[in-house]
């Protein structure tokens, strides 16, 4: 299936991008990696008049430490993040999640900013960003602003991005010795959209979990933080008893939407399987650390 006709341009400044967006509105689409957009056009599920290629904007690239945060520019590809020594050191959750994103050829093109801007509830980056309490950096004709990840993803494919704005990057807190992170997802085949996935970001004091962030993908309309269960886990040791309490809480808290291949209760069950695995791994890891 071939794309419909469209015009193409590659601006070399953000001002040009904003001007084009203001001029064309929803008839223009931002093109970065294009791994979602091109598939949509090939299937004729959208027929924009203009593609605005932003890969020429060097300011939108890069992975760097900025103060107490790790900043990743919108144009960083999934492979860039997968291979980055800075990410491995400062945001190991992202390094764990990256190999789950589709396949290598797609990771070589697809971008951090694109994944965040679409906000697919089954995507890895929105989920990790919410688990880490990251911040999304936006820019528009009115200037720059930032939105916390958990305020950015509002509804299915609906984010806090205003018309005329683009995602320029997102940052996450630096990983510390007291942190434990884990990511896992379940899909019918490796690289498929996940049926359910979980990103855990926990802060420990010894084996005591001071806080445990649990963010699910593929369960709700947006990346889903299981706040009630998180509250139950705060200040606890993640032994078998606590984990069972968490699982019971998740069964009550999570209300997954079914899809054509999985019922709601299957997704709920799989979510608890992931929770058990990751919480057990967290406990085992912290228990192995000498006091």
């Amino acid at each position: 299936m071939k794309s419909p006709q469209f015009d193409y341009c590659k601006p070399d400044s953000l001002e040009q991008v904003f001007s084009l967006l203001a001029q064309h509105g929803d008839d223009a689409r931002i093109l970065a990696g294009g791994q979602t957009l091109m598939a949509t056009l090939n299937m004729r599920l959208s027929e924009p008049a203009l593609l605005i290629d932003i890969t020429g904007l060097k300011a939108l690239g890069g992975i760097r430490v900025q103060g107490d945060r790790l900043y990743i520019g919108a144009l960083a590809t999934h492979t860039d993040i997968e291979n980055s020594a800075l990410v491995a050191q400062h945001a190991p959750l992202l390094a764990q999640a990256a190999p789950h994103i589709a396949h290598r050829a797609i990771r070589n093109s697809g971008t951090w900013g694109g994944s965040i801007a679409y906000g697919d509830p089954a995507a890895e980056w929105p989920c990790c960003l919410c688990a880490l309490d990251g911040t999304v950096q936006l820019q528009g004709p009115g200037g720059a602003r930032q939105v916390s990840a958990t305020d950015f993803f509002l509804d299915l494919y609906t984010t806090a991005l205003q018309p005329g704005e683009i995602v320029v990057g997102a940052d996450v807190p630096l990983d510390s010795a007291a942190d434990w992170v884990g990511f896992d997802e379940l899909a019918r085949r490796h690289g498929d959209y996940a049926v359910a996935g979980l990103a855990v970001a926990a802060r420990f004091q010894g084996t005591l979990a001071q806080r445990v962030n649990l963010c699910f993908l593929g369960i709700g309309q947006i990346p889903l933080r299981a706040r009630r269960t998180e509250a139950l886990l705060a200040g606890k040791t993640l032994d078998a008893g606590t984990i069972e309490i968490a699982v019971a809480s998740l069964k009550a808290e999570l209300d997954p939407l079914p899809d054509l291949t999985h019922r709601a209760d299957t997704k709920r069950h799989l979510a608890t399987v992931l929770a058990r695995r990751l919480l057990q791994a967290a406990h085992a890891s912290r228990s192995a650390i000498p006091a």
């Binding site: 924009p48 509830p121 054509l260």
Partner: protein, 225 residues
């Protein structure tokens, strides 16, 4: 795909009925609706531009009404084509019942939709069908609630007055109505003939638009990549 909903609207059943009868209200509430047209007494068409994530699909739908019990319920069958994207067909049922609260008369609106999606929409949209349908339904009923809620009442009064020929005949129509609550069996055969022709027409248009929404739901969900 199956979708059910149960919402309480802060308005009396007659007002809800009138608003649902108003094609302008419906066209304003259906997300992306571009046009609603009467083709025949039992048949309507609608054009809706569906936007979910990266998808932009314009589709055309057709609704056929049946089993109308004024101010109470209706069933409809629908089919819609999204052009290159695929198509959807299905049925939906809507029921209204009184739900009086200390704040005044409210109406409980229950709906069910069963839809199947074919073509590319069904192929690539499978994992998102229910989620997208739910979002569209939430958007519709959110907008609809704003139209019928008391806050909007002053603006809406003239509309209701102008349409008074429509709701009035409904009141004396069915003895069963007086019993009100929500346990009507859908299969009961309604006699709508007690309505004035204009009322019947508004009624049809209203249910049509609901069907258009339901069609939009079906096609749109499948349109989700």
């Amino acid at each position: 795909m199956e979708l059910t909903g149960d919402i309480v609207l802060a308005a009396a059943r007659a007002r809800v009925w009138a608003a649902l009868n108003d094609p302008q209200v419906l066209a304003a509430c259906i997300p992306g609706c571009e046009a609603v047209e009467v083709v025949g007494p039992l048949e309507k068409t609608a054009r809706v531009m569906v936007k979910v994530g990266p998808v932009r699909a314009r589709f055309a739908g057709r609704i056929l009404l049946a089993d109308v019990v004024e101010a109470e319920r209706c069933a409809m069958s629908f089919e819609g084509s999204g052009g290159a994207a695929g198509m959807a067909r299905g049925q939906s049922q809507v029921q209204l019942s009184d739900e009086d609260t200390p704040e005044g008369p409210h109406t409980r609106l229950r709906y069910t939709v069963q839809a199947s999606v074919a073509g590319k929409l069904g192929q690539v949209g499978g994992r998102m069908i229910d989620a997208a349908a739910k979002q569209m339904a939430d958007q519709f009923f959110g907008a609809f609630q704003a139209h019928v809620a008391p806050v909007a009442a002053p603006a809406a009064e003239p509309l209701a007055a102008a349409r008074s020929a429509a709701p009035e005949p409904i009141a004396p129509a069915q003895p069963a109505q007086a019993a009100a609550p929500s346990t009507q069996a859908l299969s009961a055969a309604p006699p709508p003939s007690s309505c004035a022709p204009a009322a019947t027409e508004w009624l049809r248009v209203k249910w049509f638009a609901l069907g258009a929404l339901a069609t939009a739901l079906g096609v749109w969900v499948g349109a989700r990549l």
